[in-house]
Subunit: 394 residues, 2 copies
């Protein structure tokens, strides 16, 4: 039943264990993979960490989100590689390897939901679960040419999932085509608490686009026009009145503190040889002060209130998902870290606000995929997914 | 029952599973650890590799050598970290960390049986199983100030143990004191097929000592005198008529070819990010030619016949276990690789001949332990252990 052949090296090489699914249901005929942060009965949960894998044992329960997919008739094909403790955006795991970007094999897949994006972009399954704390679904979706969603914070259950930074963590997913993206959304997201208007007004995050190189803006222009063709001309606004740097640091301090609370005890006890970048980020996390966190929370609260007020059932935002196409596999760790920091400026809007964001595979540059994103109001997830599906396929 | 606290970070952090042992027996009251190459029912076998750990599942059978210890009343306390796929001599595992050398915490423990030597030298158990293919018991025994044995090839069962290079692989063990070393040997080694004379003649491997720096020779001199005090003055002979370089390469070619046969299929399929040194050695192994292996086998056969004829029940050899005390943890990977290559010159005698070698914790230098070795004829293992115990404790 499981994949015996994994040319993308997207999957953890666990022994195959049968995971039953409903014979019929809305997802019948679809196969899916699960980021190795979620528990699946009969499997360990490695969280991209040799230590976590060793400590795991075989889980006896399956995370509710996975059960929901199985109950809807989807077929589980395996657990996918994640960046170490999900604390990276590159998709390069120093212990389990780098899954292949199915759309740009000479480039990083992006992470931390690297294996899930790799499996879907390589055609090894129809859709895959990931998590997005600071960009871990949106980055690989953009890099691998996939639909991806970071849902409204709290909308999809993270029970039975290893935390990274709980006040930011969300469960998202990837799909290659709009129809599958929508079918899965209907099961996973459920009905919207705040459905979008049929034709919401489009606002364009001018300051976010302003962070991009000209060549990237150019590459995204036709994609923006495609959205405008459906929703009418976008109104350019600035969204980061505090400045992206302030938002970036607010996100980093809070995420780092929460990550240290989650993983610090294991790291202090076992002193694992963490991979490049991951080691630095946990070292940083250990040193974050209470004052830094408190100041970050003030910024977060002010931004969230203001940003939420910008959006509504009739007002959504278009913005770049990532600063560029995926870096080449040969890039240095330093270059990847610089790229990550740029990307966090774009990622932080939905992270700090808790609002849903979808990335649409609408552009390419240098022959590699590049995503365009939409952010909607809290609880508009399924409408956003339907809109994204319609824009790309319509 | 298992260790909940492991300050030496010697153990794999597996969930504790009960492993029953006989209530009474010759090893009653002793606790032991097992290198994570041997299967123990209820545990995975990780072999120092994240990929092997992922593929392992929980084993349903216990390796016969472990069963023999349990049946003799010894208490299992856990599985210990090994170098990645056991193909290293440093004890630095890029994925699972470096166990602490209990006798010289600022120095490497040596490997590949690093965690076993760490656990015993840190007092976390009374003895521990390791394997020795090219020095993996003798090196950490010397570095950590322990008794250690590489038995006659084939003497102790390796069933249920991950191979490295089968025609060289042996199962050995460590102990802190001579009494425990002997008690365990009586169970694990069984009666000698070729017991040593009560007072065998001592030969000294002059050319092996000639490989050492003067300061190391000086540090070992009192240890040699201690052996001579019991057995009479040693006669210096040359043992490597072919030259150590020829023996070194013979061992490397054969070990590399066999290691590639064992681990190559996994490495080619999963392309794991192997740690420093390990990656180089497997890359080397992949390129070894049939002709190199065939020439190596000729050298091995000639050396083995000649070397075996040198030794007998009444003639044993004394030689340095390692070129020096353990390198500092801060040494570069390059320096560690140079040290390893030097060490292999000393290790290759018993590897190529299949003869038993014990390392005795008889010396120190710069405040760190340094072992002295004895090699006896095939099948004299228990006599050698008894002799080593008597020399150190007597």
């Amino acid at each position: 039943m499981l994949l015996s052949h994994d040319p993308a090296r997207a999957f953890m090489p666990y022994p195959s264990v049968e995971v039953p699914h409903a014979e019929t249901g809305p997802l019948s005929g679809l196969s899916f993979a699960v980021k190795d942060l979620f528990d699946v009965a009969g499997y360990p949960t490695g969280a991209g960490s040799p230590q976590m894998l060793a400590m795991s044992g075989l889980k006896t329960r399956t995370a509710p989100v996975v059960r929901a997919l199985l109950n809807a008739g989807a077929r589980f094909v395996g657990k996918t590689i994640t960046d170490e403790l999900a604390f990276s955006m590159s998709g390069k795991n120093a212990h389990f390897g780098t899954p292949v970007n199915g759309r740009a094999p000479d480039r990083i897949p992006g992470g931390s939901s690297s294996g899930s994006a790799s499996a879907v972009s390589s055609g090894l399954c129809d859709f895959a679960l990931g998590t997005d704390t600071g960009g871990s679904v949106r980055a690989p979706a953009s890099h691998c040419g996939l639909f991806g969603i970071r849902p409204t914070h709290g909308r999809v259950s993270l029970e039975g999932c290893h935390d990274l930074a709980p006040s930011f963590d969300t469960c998202g997913y990837f799909a290659r085509d709009g129809e599958t993206f929508l079918r899965v959304g209907e099961v996973l997201l459920g009905a919207d608490s705040q459905a979008l208007a049929v034709r919401p007004r489009l606002m364009l995050a001018g300051d976010a686009f302003g962070l991009l190189d000209g060549s990237v803006r150019e590459a995204l222009a036709p994609a923006v026009r495609k959205v405008e063709a459906l929703l009418g001309p976008a109104e350019a606004i600035d969204v980061a009145n505090e400045g992206f740097t302030a938002l970036y640091w607010a996100m980093r301090y809070i995420q780092s503190r929460e990550a240290w609370i989650v993983d610090g005890p294991m790291i202090e006890r076992l002193k694992p040889p963490l991979g490049p970048g991951v080691a630095d980020r946990f070292a940083f996390a250990q040193d974050v002060t209470d004052r830094q966190v408190a100041e970050a929370q003030v910024i977060r609260k002010a931004f969230r209130e203001r940003f939420k007020a910008l959006l509504g059932p009739d007002r959504i935002l278009v913005l770049p998902t990532m600063p560029d196409v995926a870096p080449l596999l040969t890039e240095t760790d330093e270059a990847l870290n610089d790229y990550r920091n740029k990307a966090l400026n774009l990622q932080c809007l939905s992270v700090l606000s808790g609002l849903p964001q979808v990335s649409l595979p609408l552009a390419t540059k240098d022959g590699a995929p590049l995503g365009l994103s939409l952010i909607g109001p809290a609880g508009s997830d399924l409408s956003l997914v339907a809109l994204a599906s319609g824009i790309v396929e319509g």
